[in-house]
Amino acid sequence: MGMRFKSGVLDRRQFLHAAATGAVALGATLWGNRLLPGHALAFAEGVEDPLLSGRPLVRYPGKTDLILLTSRPPQLETPIKYFETAITPNEAFYVRYHIPPPTSVDLSTWRLKVTGQLDRPLELSMEDLQSKFPRTTVVAVNQCSGNGRGYFSPRVFGGQWANGAMGNAEWTGVRLRDLLSAAGVKQGAVEVTFNGLDQPVMRTTPDFVKSLTVSRIMQDPNVLIAYQMNGQPLPLLNGFPARLIVPGWYATYWVKNLSEITVLDKPFDGFWMTKAYLIPDNSCACVEPGTAAPHMVPINRMDVRSLIISPGAGERLPSGQTAAIKGITFDGGSGIRQVEVSVDKGATWHSAKLGKDLGNYSFREWSFDWKTPQKGSYTLMSRATNRMGETQRTDPRWNPAGYMRNVIEHVEVTVA
């Protein structure tokens, strides 16, 4: 962005200078008074949803029209219509950065550095990644920890996402454990950190670095360094040239624009693992609103969810017809056992038909044929249960950061 200086990071002197010249305020004002070039301002569909009404649709590089949550660093939400099918197109895949993304990547100089507690540290070009390690593929959901945060009650600060901070893609790349094995993990190594090319504006801001344990990586053949998303190079704003794929776990671990992997002989104590992205250390990852949990742990496996995608909220359906109620479901990797649908506010439930199985980490489509009854208002609900018997919550969980929403969602429709 305009205020990134050459080094990419400002020190205090540069900051004060920039502030003194008014460059910051000027930049904000000039941008603030301009519409995005080349795009008529349109608004998000789903005006039935107060959370989305009034939010502009914007087109960022490599992306189609997405719902703008914040512009800098960018947070762009996927319109729910893209979840009518199990695979989310790359251009429609949501975007979320904590700190400014890189705006240029040169593959002739880009290297993935694998360093730390290793016998043979590596510096890999894209060609090395693609030619020296077995290629593998997984279809997996990437969901922001705060997906649905905007629906928390009482409300909490943070990105006020509706349910579009997620997507499902076929990720192709190399197994992280193959990479680490080639480099020779030393005895005593316990954790691995991941850093990308995104950099904070201020040097004093913690860089976005995440970690996984060595055992987690070595036991899971699906943890990948992906260089393709749905058969194409990743959009830069989704992690080009490579990103970490941690199927089943929330997207905070899926570090984008990956550049450094470091093996440590002690647990990583960085901000983004020890202070941020923490959940209450109890069975529901929840607390009574307004209270704090005595112990917090890093967020990890995704909770089971299902969403009704069609009909949409407020839709009118003709009486005496067959209406297909359709949606998607997913969990943290055990796979979905069943989805049930209620058309009477949860009084009775009916089994939905599950669609094609693209693997345990993928969205799975489901559908239920509803013989529309007499005219009136109806509340549609869907409830998924995974293969471990876990099901969606009837009452929404609450935690201070607004993570892990998985309550049974409601869609109000009218039969006319």
């Binding site: 962005m1 205020m3 205090r12 920039a18 910051v24 305020a25 930049g27 904000a28 004002t29 000039l30 941008w31 603030g32 301009r34 995005l36 070039p37 502009p56 087109r59 960022y60 590089p61 490599g62 703008l68 949550l69 914040t70 512009s71 800098r72 904590h98 993304p101 705006t103 240029s104 990547v105 040169d106 593959l107 002739s108 920890s145 009482p154 909490v156 600060f157 943070g158 904070p200 504006v201 201020m202 004093t204 801001t205 913690p206 830069l236 040239p241 901000f271 983004w272 202070k275 941020a276 992205y277 923490l278 209450p280 307004g290 209270t291 704090a292 917090m296 935690n399 201070p400 993570y403």
Partner: protein, 126 residues
């Protein structure tokens, strides 16, 4: 058949263009759009300070999209930006910004909670 001057020119252009494509094939660059024009801060005392100090690291939609919580929660949020995210804001400016946010983006009737997201535990999600 000898090429016409026009054909030569077209061929030349194609060659130059192809070379340019090859040269940039290794490089992916993007230009990010300007800040959201719909996210103007409300006018009021402290607006300029908030725009300058908050806007240095993030667009103002990070402010205007937030639910209207309490003045105390907004103050905690400002303190978090300084102590946790390293924002360079003087104590007097921090007070100006907190007061501005409380005056324009809080809900005095909202119940105060003990777990303001300004508490760093589990709140670094921004």
């Amino acid at each position: 058949m000898p090429m016409s001057k026009q054909q030569t020119k077209v061929l030349f252009t194609v060659v130059i263009f192809s070379v340019a494509i090859i040269a940039i094939a290794q490089q992916t660059s993007i230009r990010l759009p300007p800040d959201n024009a719909m996210a103007q801060l409300k006018s009021g005392t402290g607006e300029e300070t908030a725009r300058r100090d908050c806007g240095f690291c993030h667009s103002t939609d990070y402010i205007v999209i937030q639910p209207h919580l309490t003045a105390k929660q907004w103050d905690a949020e400002v303190q978090k930006m300084i102590t946790v995210y390293g924002a360079v804001i003087t104590p007097s400016d921090a007070k100006i910004i907190s007061d501005y946010l409380a005056a324009n983006y809080s809900n005095g009737s909202a119940p105060a909670t003990k777990t303001e997201t300004g508490d760093t535990s589990g709140s670094g999600k921004r």
